[in-house]
């Protein structure tokens, strides 16, 4: 599996990750090597093998739909980069 610069830029955008132009060829080479390693999976036929999502095949626990957490907005927002009036601030998204 070989990824080129275009692939890396596309994946980086999907992951919302800025990659410096100069670093793109290095990532392309390294990601290609990692995918080559991963390709070894194809040596085994896995038809009819049920996928394993959880080591103990546990399912999601349910609980009664009642309030279990208290409001800690102010406490949690003390570590936010930018807030105002209890809101998280981001650059304008609607003109």
């Amino acid at each position: 599996m070989s990824l080129d610069a275009n692939d890396v830029n596309k994946i980086a955008h999907l992951a919302r990750l800025r990659i410096e132009e100069a670093d793109v060829p290095g990532y392309a080479a390294q990601l290609s090597e990692i995918l080559d390693l991963v390709e070894q999976m194809n040596a085994v036929d896995t038809r009819d093998v049920p996928p394993m999502a959880h080591p103990l095949d546990a399912v999601q626990r349910l609980r009664p739909d009642v309030v279990s957490e208290t409001d800690q907005r102010d406490h949690f927002q003390t570590i936010a980069p930018q807030t105002e009036a209890g809101l998280y601030l981001v650059p304008k998204v609607i003109e």
Partner: protein
């Protein structure tokens, strides 16, 4: 015998017998950290005031007649566990200024038991690495040879315990991050069954693999601390609701007749000759104690590294999407628009290895590729787990190398991700299957520590600790500490 040479169990007993106070003990370890951590870099944050405050509180509880098994002993937490009011960086620039607003369950339980926290240990960024070189705070050095890596990702915890800067420490193990550094630093470490220790407040890397555990000098100490950490937690959706046994109750039991499986795939090409010799000697010790060695096969072992490098990156790409520069963590200056804010905050906040894994995971999960990568990996994961299930119908425990070689030099593998990934070849299958694994020091090869890996059936931690403890009753590798610290 100096206080730092004692085991956690001995220190706890000494506190109960009022031979010394927790404050004195805590000062002793804080002094050692101040004296030696300039060389090792095993801590990201040391919290002396907080530690002394906790120590005095423990002393008051002891004076009032309390006798908890962990009351007043100092430990260190891997900097992946959220600690309320204390920076929790996860080894990343992204969280360099992140002061956790709550405690991880592990921290909360140990605090309640009266454990003193000395500080937060260094680690590979977001636990992604096998050498501790991906940390934003610089590499940790192996106390046995400071030109070498301590292993990773919990390299700080391993180095701190090995150099006796802390009697024990917490860690996490997603693909070997407790067992590999414990082996390379010559100490004991255990990764319990998936779901045994709560993941709440343990910063998520690969949620179907991550499991908290312990570093200590001895198996007994591992059991002691694990007993204080394990248990059901409703705040972790994959926590297992099952009683925690007393890990020390049967630790002395005779192991005569124990069936030990030796997977031939682990004692094969690629295993360093010196490491193999050391492990064969350790296995002879088990034979002399009446255990029976049985060759077994885990035929799909060879697939564990490729499978892991789909499952772990896929899950990390999803988990790390919460680092967006909006609610917490690093935020880029003067963002042009929202996309620019996300992309630059993440581009500046994450190091190269984290970026690689996020990109691999994003690619593997992108439209059209899911079946070929993530689904395929989950199917192979089932085959790997089935190998272990079959093996445990035949044997009681499995023994294998923890690592294919001893500690490598700083910089030796840092430019070659795939070669770094292959250094975890002996530990990854255990995480994929979800079974418990531990490592104990079994000797030296070329002057560097060698770890013997013990793998157990689901929830068989007590047996692993018993089998490890019996070995430590007749050998003294676990008592050897590196010179100069």
């Amino acid at each position: 015998m100096s206080l730092h040479e004692k085991t956690l169990a001995e220190l706890a007993a000494g506190l109960r017998a009022r031979e010394y106070r927790s404050e004195e003990l805590t000062r002793h370890f804080l002094d050692r950290i101040a004296a030696h951590d300039g060389t090792l870099n095993s801590f990201i944050t040391v919290t002396p005031e907080r530690a002394l405050e906790q120590a005095r509180a423990a002393d008051a509880r002891i004076a009032a007649g309390e006798t908890g098994p962990l009351l007043g002993v100092p430990i260190a937490h891997k900097d992946i566990f959220c600690t309320n009011g204390v920076r929790t960086s996860c080894g990343s620039k992204m969280l360099d200024k992140f002061v956790a607003p709550y405690d991880a369950t592990v921290v909360e339980k140990l605090d309640a038991a009266g454990v003193v926290t000395l500080g937060k240990t260094n680690m590979d960024e977001f636990a992604m690495g096998s050498s501790n070189e991906t940390s934003f705070y610089g590499p940790v050095r192996n106390p046995w040879d400071t030109e070498r890596v301590p292993g990773g990702s919990s390299g700080g915890s391993a180095a701190a315990v090995a150099a006796r800067l802390a009697p024990a420490a917490t860690g996490t193990d997603t693909g070997g991050s407790i067992r590999q550094p414990a082996a390379l630093c010559g100490i004991s470490g255990i990764k319990p069954t998936y779901g045994r220790v709560s993941r709440y407040g343990m910063i998520a890397f690969a949620s179907s693999l991550d499991q908290g555990g312990v570093f200590a000098q001895t198996a007994e100490d591992c059991g002691l601390l694990l007993g204080g950490m394990a248990g059901f937690d409703r705040r972790d959706s994959t926590s297992v609701d099952r009683e925690v046994p007393d890990y020390l109750a049967g630790i002395n039991e005779d192991i005569k007749g124990l069936k030990i499986g030796l997977p031939k795939e682990y004692f094969a090409e690629g295993l360093d000759a010196g490491v193999e010799r050391t492990l064969r000697d350790a296995l002879k010790v088990y034979e002399s104690m009446g255990a029976e060695l049985v060759e077994i096969s885990l035929p799909n072992s060879g697939l564990s590294v490729p499978v892991y490098y789909v499952v772990a990156p896929a899950e990390c790409s999803s988990n790390l999407s919460r680092m967006d520069g909006v609610r917490f963590g690093h935020r880029a200056a003067d963002p042009r628009d929202l996309t620019d804010l996300y992309e630059r905050s993440r581009g500046e906040g994450f190091g190269a290895e984290v970026k690689r894994r996020i990109m691999i995971g994003t690619y593997a999960l992108s439209a059209g590729y899911y079946d070929a990568y993530y689904l395929k990996a989950q199917q192979l994961r089932r085959l790997i787990a089935d190998d272990f299930k079959r093996a445990f119908e035949q044997v009681d425990v499995i023994m294998a190398p923890t690592t294919p070689g001893t500690a490598f030099k700083l910089g030796e593998k840092s430019d070659d991700p795939v070669s770094m990934y292959l250094s975890d070849i002996d530990t990854i299958a255990v995480n994929l299957a979800g079974v418990p694994g531990m490592t104990i020091p079994a000797g030296f090869a070329d002057g560097l520590p060698v770890g013997l890996q013990l793998i157990g059936n689901y929830f068989d931690e007590a047996r692993l600790l018993n089998v490890a403890h019996r070995y430590q009753q007749v050998t003294d590798w676990h008592k050897l500490a590196p010179a100069g610290f």
